[in-house]
Amino acid sequence: MSDASTYGMVAEFDDPTKLVEAAREMRKLGYRKMEAYSPYPIKDLHEIIPVINWVPAICFLGGLSGSIIAWSMEYYIAAIDYPINVGGRPLYSWPSFIPILFELTVLLAGCSAFFAVLGLSGFPRVHFPLFNLPQFADATSSRMFLCIEKTDPIYDSDLTAKFMRELEPVGVWEVSDE
């Protein structure tokens, strides 16, 4: 039944409650390689399908580097590289350096947060097996999907399908990756 090209078993739901329930059930049954797809964020799923969130850390590092870059640049240019008497002010007039320090910090922090999402999610993505499933088009507007991937050690096409049908889904399909 299942062959090499199989990606996994997908169940479609029309209600967030059922989806969460299903996910919880499958996890109880020992499935680990699973993923839920919903048209809007569903917090409860995050406990069931845990994922490490690197975004804040990356964002912080970005901001930190922004501050360092800004300050060192300002100091180097104003005091070392181009030491000019401007209006009788000292070369290292640090109060004037604060605004740019702040702006660059925010800039780099923000950019790193944004690109962190892209990187972690593996964007841009042009191909994904579930896209082969016509119903999956609704995943971005009204329906939710739960997918048990074939890579899961205890994945068995008949058994998994059987378990899933018990979770009153709209439908269950085995999706192949081609």
Partner: protein, 469 residues
């Protein structure tokens, strides 16, 4: 697909009842309806005549802008009314005005997100778009107003054969960093929020090429739970960053004036004063845009009177802050005992350009007091009128601050009164054209309401929150 007529009437009746807690999203809105409603505007429905009119008008003004700018670059800034002492005129006024308008979007999307104001969800998308286009318009003016615009990049620090560097003590350099940072962050924030909706367009689009385009734009979003996780935490972080940023940007803009020693500019009250004014004009622009949009595209169920009401309240609040600063300025002048400061106050109220000062008082302080009335806040027409009044008033305020201080500073021999030329006006209205054009393109091709966030607002969106039917 919008709610049936009688449904809408009932809805409207409930809206106008003050004892009734106003809903953020009209009942009878489902995942499917909201998805269909928004995507159909872009994907299936026929472009309404209203859109073509606005777009055409915007293009018309935009052509004027092109002409004005071409002539400007060819001839020099002398085509404007600026002179010595009035080294700055319309250009900087427009810059500050547009930047100010650009504040509401980020405020709504960032600060209200942090404050958990769920009502923001349905309006933040086009508010942010407005922000971005306003900042685009704003960013043009500092470049155009240069005597030699073609070397504007000299204000950036970069290794160059001239071995010279910019002056980090100059507020103009701070401006460069502040505005460009603000623009970048706003764009990222805006786009990040749009990715799921673009994915929806991809999936709902019929024609292949549309699928392709929106597919590329959404980076292949699937709505997987971990994608949502990172997406949300990034949104939260960006909101956290944008909040101090939005406050800092107008503070830095106000530094352009406060760092100078000019009487009427050199004042510590400017940063809060400017930020308040910015939010004031920003929300004015939001209502001016929202009211036609909701009626033309039938978004009454998403842009409810609750939004109008809240925007009205915010305008009222910020307007009162502004009124306070108008009162405190003469006081500080008097209290400082500085003859120049007092002369500026006198000059603003009774000088050759007193009309601008009294115009500001009328448009920014007196008329908007109407917002105290509930009916004014929730009825589209009066609120729209208030928005326009405030927008004009805020432009006038910046104009007043700039020319009345420059025109009569320390040495009487150099006093002069600024007189605008035809080209001053052409550039101002031209930039409005640029804004309208960009905004109309956004309305036509991008999701103007963040559907994903609206879905979260639906009662049955929470697991265990009941079923759709």
């Amino acid at each position: 697909m919008m709610a049936p007529v009688e449904e809408r009437q009932r809805h409207a009746a409930r809206e106008l009842d003050p004892n009734n807690p106003l809903p953020v999203v009209a009942p009878s809105t489902t995942f499917e309806t909201v998805s269909e409603q928004i995507s159909s505007i872009v994907l299936t429905r026929k472009t309404p005549l209203f859109w073509w009119c606005c777009f055409g008008f915007g293009i018309f003004l935009l052509i004027w802008f092109a002409i004005a700018v071409t002539y400007l670059l060819g001839k020099g800034v002398g085509i404007w009314g600026i002179e010595i002492p009035n080294g700055w005129g319309f250009a900087i006024t427009n810059f500050v005005w547009w930047i100010g308008i650009g504040h509401a979007g980020t405020l709504i999307s960032a600060i209200l997100l942090l404050l958990n104001q769920s009502w923001r969800n349905s309006i933040n998308r086009f508010a942010e778009a407005m922000t971005i286009f306003a900042v685009m318009c704003a960013g043009l003016f500092p470049l155009l107003h240069l005597g030699r615009s073609w070397i504007f990049y000299w204000v950036f620090p970069y290794p160059n054969t001239m071995t010279v560097q910019p002056n980090f003590r100059s507020p103009l350099v701070w401006d460069v960093f502040a505005v460009s940072t603000y623009f970048t962050i706003s764009v990222l924030f805006w786009y990040l929020g749009m990715i799921p909706d673009l994915a929806m367009f991809r999936d709902r689009a019929v024609e292949r090429w549309k699928k392709a385009i929106y597919g590329i734009m959404c980076f292949g979003w699937r709505g997987a739970s971990h994608e949502w996780k990172w997406h949300q935490s990034a949104s939260l972080l960006l909101a956290g960053l944008a909040t101090p940023l939005v406050l800092s940007v107008h503070t830095v803009v106000s530094f352009d004036f406060t760092i100078a020693i000019l009487p009427g500019w050199h004042s510590t009250i400017f940063p809060p004063y400017f930020v308040a004014g910015a939010i004031y004009s920003g929300f004015a622009m939001v209502v001016v845009l929202a009211i036609p949009l909701r009626s033309v595209y039938g978004l009454h169920n998403l842009l409810t009177v609750r939004h109008l009401n809240n925007c009205g309240k915010l305008m009222l609040a910020t307007g009162l802050v502004l009124a306070y600063t108008y009162c405190i300025e003469p006081f500080t002048a008097w209290y400082s005992g500085n003859e120049f400061e007092m002369a500026v106050v006198r000059n603003r109220a009774f000088g050759p350009q007193a009309w601008s000062f009294w115009g500001v008082i009328l448009l920014n302080v007196i008329i908007p007091q109407g917002l105290w009335f509930y009916k004014v806040r929730v009825k589209p027409q009066p609120l729209f009128f208030m928005g326009c009044v405030v927008l004009v008033g805020m432009w006038l305020e910046r104009y007043m601050i700039i020319v009345t201080s420059l025109g009569r500073d320390f040495l009487p021999s150099s006093w002069a009164t600024f007189v605008a030329t035809f080209w001053d006006n052409a550039t101002l209205y031209g930039s409005v054209g640029l804004f309208i054009t960009l905004f109309m393109l956004f309305v036509r091709f991008l999701p103007m309401v963040p559907v994903a966030e609206v879905r979260e607002l639906l009662p049955f969106s929470k697991p265990g929150g009941g079923t759709e039917k």
